[in-house]
């Protein structure tokens, strides 16, 4: 009633999103990561998302980070230098619209899932091996 949640997702939702990012990594070779939380007061969502990407260290260039701040109603898709070669701004922008249209209806896990599937689909469709 008051929106007072201690956990962002149920066990089931978290499990399914975990499966989703595992599968996305297997299919694309990129590391997909989903962060849902509140941006600190002294930072902007984009800055914070970029900082989180940096926490991947050496792997950061191959990371696609989906950063969701439900309070700021902000979504950031941050791609490392390698990942951005596969996912240009246009593609990320389309996925972002897919996600936010679900978020606006209150469906966080569904939006994240559809957005990531869209990004993965873009990569697998244009991979030369296929």
């Amino acid at each position: 009633m008051n929106g007072n949640l201690s956990r962002a997702f149920t066990d089931q939702q978290e499990y399914e999103l975990g499966r989703l990012v595992d599968r996305a990594r297997e299919e694309t070779g990129l590391t997909f990561s989903v962060f849902v939380g509140t941006t600190p007061d002294d930072a902007k969502p984009r800055e914070e998302a970029t900082r989180l990407l940096g926490e991947f260290g050496d792997e950061a260039p191959r990371v696609v980070l989906v950063y969701v701040d439900p309070n700021a109603r902000a979504l950031e898709i941050v791609t490392g230098s390698v990942a951005s070669g596969w996912l240009d701004e246009r593609t990320c922008g389309f996925a972002a619209v897919t996600m936010t249209s679900s978020f606006a209806l209150g469906d966080l896990p569904g939006g994240i899932q559809r957005g990531i599937e869209q990004l993965v689909g873009h990569i697998t469709n244009f991979r030369p091996e296929h």
Binding site: R7, E55, N71, L75, V78, A83, I123
Partner: protein, 96 residues
């Protein structure tokens, strides 16, 4: 004629409607008690931060380092050579 005490009168005309009111109210609210945590646009989000596929996930590097995944063979080499980690990022921003 049977006499009805003040207490019985109160019970009948105040207690019974009040009890019915409470029962109906509980029936209306109860379904949401057992429901999953859920984001509702406009309400403050107080859930703990959740990071799925974050850098501390132990089993992650095994697959990421798998050389049999040729998905990024073309782009990776030169991009990683000229830029240190995470210095050049892309992506998109959106709000709702």
């Amino acid at each position: 004629m049977e006499t009805v005490s003040t207490l019985q009168t109160l019970g009948l005309f105040v207690g019974v409607p009040a009890a019915a009111f409470v029962i109906i109210a509980v029936l209306c609210v109860a379904p949401s008690w057992g429901r999953d945590p859920r984001y509702r646009p406009g309400l403050t989000w107080t859930a703990d931060p959740t990071w799925i596929g974050g850098p501390e996930d132990a089993e992650r590097p095994a697959v990421a380092a798998d050389p049999s995944r040729p998905a990024l063979s073309g782009v990776g080499a030169e991009a990683e050579a000229e830029e240190p980690a995470a210095s050049r990022t892309g992506g998109a921003s959106a709000s709702w």
